[in-house]
């Protein structure tokens, strides 16, 4: 079966590989680029744990083939904060409000919510927050503290 040479920019760095077309983007990120912050939960597009940003927009990396991301730009949770720098305001807010317990779903939540907050929605009521995170499942928190974290991060990000 044929393979393909591809190059995907992840968090500003170019990763190259020769892969089977059936390789999922989520597996390229984890096993080829060795960025294991992106977690794989259900692997059929339901749980949202594998959410990454493709050209700035959140997508499910388990529903995309790595070859489809060739020459595209991907951002994963590792790209949110600089290696030695401070946490992203959203990460900091998750930390402070106890918006994670086991943490498995957290990278997916962060990658979904970051562009949602950056776009600065006019009305940030709980309904809008809950709609924004509806595509990500969390089995620990009951979501209450995640909503709290988004409120806190939004307040700080708007200064």
């Amino acid at each position: 079966m044929s393979t393909r040479a591809i190059s995907i920019e992840i968090n500003g760095r170019s990763y190259e590989g020769t892969v089977e077309p059936r390789l999922l983007l989520s597996d390229f990120i984890r096993h080829e680029a060795h960025l294991t912050g992106t977690n794989v939960g259900c692997e059929h597009g339901v749980c949202g744990a594998c959410t990454v940003q493709l050209d700035g927009e959140p997508i499910r990396s388990c529903l995309m083939l790595a070859v489809q991301a060739d020459r595209r730009s991907v951002r994963t949770v590792e790209g949110l904060a600089p290696p030695e720098g401070e946490l992203h305001p959203l990460q900091q807010a998750f930390h402070e409000t106890h918006a994670l317990q086991c943490g498995f779903c957290t990278p997916g939540f962060l990658m979904t919510l970051e562009p949602f907050l950056a776009a600065g929605p006019v009305q940030l009521d709980d309904g809008a927050i809950r709609a924004a995170l509806a595509g990500n499942l969390c089995r620990c928190t009951g979501y209450q503290n995640i909503v709290e974290a988004v409120r806190l991060a939004a307040m700080r990000m708007r200064g």
Binding site: R4, R22, G48, L54, R60, Q68, R130
Partner: protein, 287 residues
């Protein structure tokens, strides 16, 4: 799980894609965004020999209006339709329907053409298109044909698209002036597949009498259902609550929604009836 082995083609033009489908049609499957196909591959419920990936066909990603028809290229992403000011101004029913498709991550990738070709009876866009009398442009190396909703959808996950054909465009006639619209559905959780729903358009004259009605039902049958007899019955009537109630009852009289773990046939019929009533009320208010 992981997808099974397949040969992968990523044509750069529609002509190239059609040539590939003409050569391999029977063993090839068109891959649009993969929001439905990739789960099927991951579960190995689908094992196509070949995938023809149409994501490189940028010529099919557009929204434009000419001669009173909104033309939507098949590769238009749900998110693009959702954000489109043109669609919102001309055919606002579509914006209301597309916002209910899956979640933001799905809408960023999902394509309008993929929703149609996948033909899930709980999918929003095919139901909205049915209410709007949309037509589907379909191409192959043999030529082009234009099909309506009734002809396109055969049953659950099955369309009349031949293996060598590619859906290229959805033509949506812009509804007449004084048309109110509503797309309503019910799902247990936000973004889940809806248990039932309805797309409604009503056009009123200056006296408030209905001159044109369109009612399409979601998840009421293995395909989108148009309630044509009810539409005719409503025409010429004043849309007051008793008329809406009677219309909703008529619209669901002949349907037998598939019973499953989420809801039985009787429950789903009652649900769709309530949703038709609500959609009629909302559409009338907006007309």
């Amino acid at each position: 799980m992981k997808p099974p082995l397949f040969e992968y083609h990523d044509p750069g033009s529609v002509d190239e894609a059609l040539a590939l489908l003409a050569e391999h049609g029977g063993e090839a499957k068109v891959l649009a965004s993969g929001q439905s196909l990739v789960p099927l591959l991951n579960f190995r419920l689908a094992r196509p020999e070949r995938l023809v990936d149409v994501n490189g066909l940028n010529e099919l990603a557009y929204l434009r209006t000419d001669d009173g028809v909104l033309r939507i290229g098949a590769l238009t992403r749900h998110a693009a339709l959702e954000r489109s000011k043109e669609a919102a101004a001309r055919v606002p029913l579509l914006g209301e329907a597309v916002a209910l498709v899956g979640h933001v991550q799905i809408r960023n990738r999902g394509t309008v053409g993929g929703s149609v070709a996948h033909a899930d009876p709980a999918a929003e866009l095919p139901v909205a298109f049915s209410a709007l009398d949309a037509r589907y442009r379909v191409r192959s190396t043999r030529g082009e044909r234009v099909v309506g909703s009734d002809e396109m959808f055969i049953t659950h996950l099955t369309t009349s698209l031949e293996p060598d054909e590619l859906l290229t465009e959805i033509e949506v006639p812009v509804p007449p002036a004084r048309t109110g619209f509503a797309f309503v559905e019910f799902a247990r959780r936000h973004g889940d597949f809806a248990l039932g729903g309805a797309a409604v358009l009503v056009t009123l004259d200056d006296a408030g009498v209905c001159t044109r009605a369109r009612i399409a039902l979601l998840a009421a049958a293995p395909t989108p259902v148009r309630a044509r007899e009810t539409e005719e019955w409503l025409t010429g009537l004043r849309l007051d609550p008793p008329a809406m109630g009677e219309a909703a009852a008529r619209a669901v009289a002949g349907i037998h929604p598939t019973s499953d773990i989420h809801g039985g046939t009787e429950y789903r019929r009652a649900l769709v009836e309530a949703l038709v009533r609500r959609a009629l009320a909302q559409a009338t208010e907006r007309a």
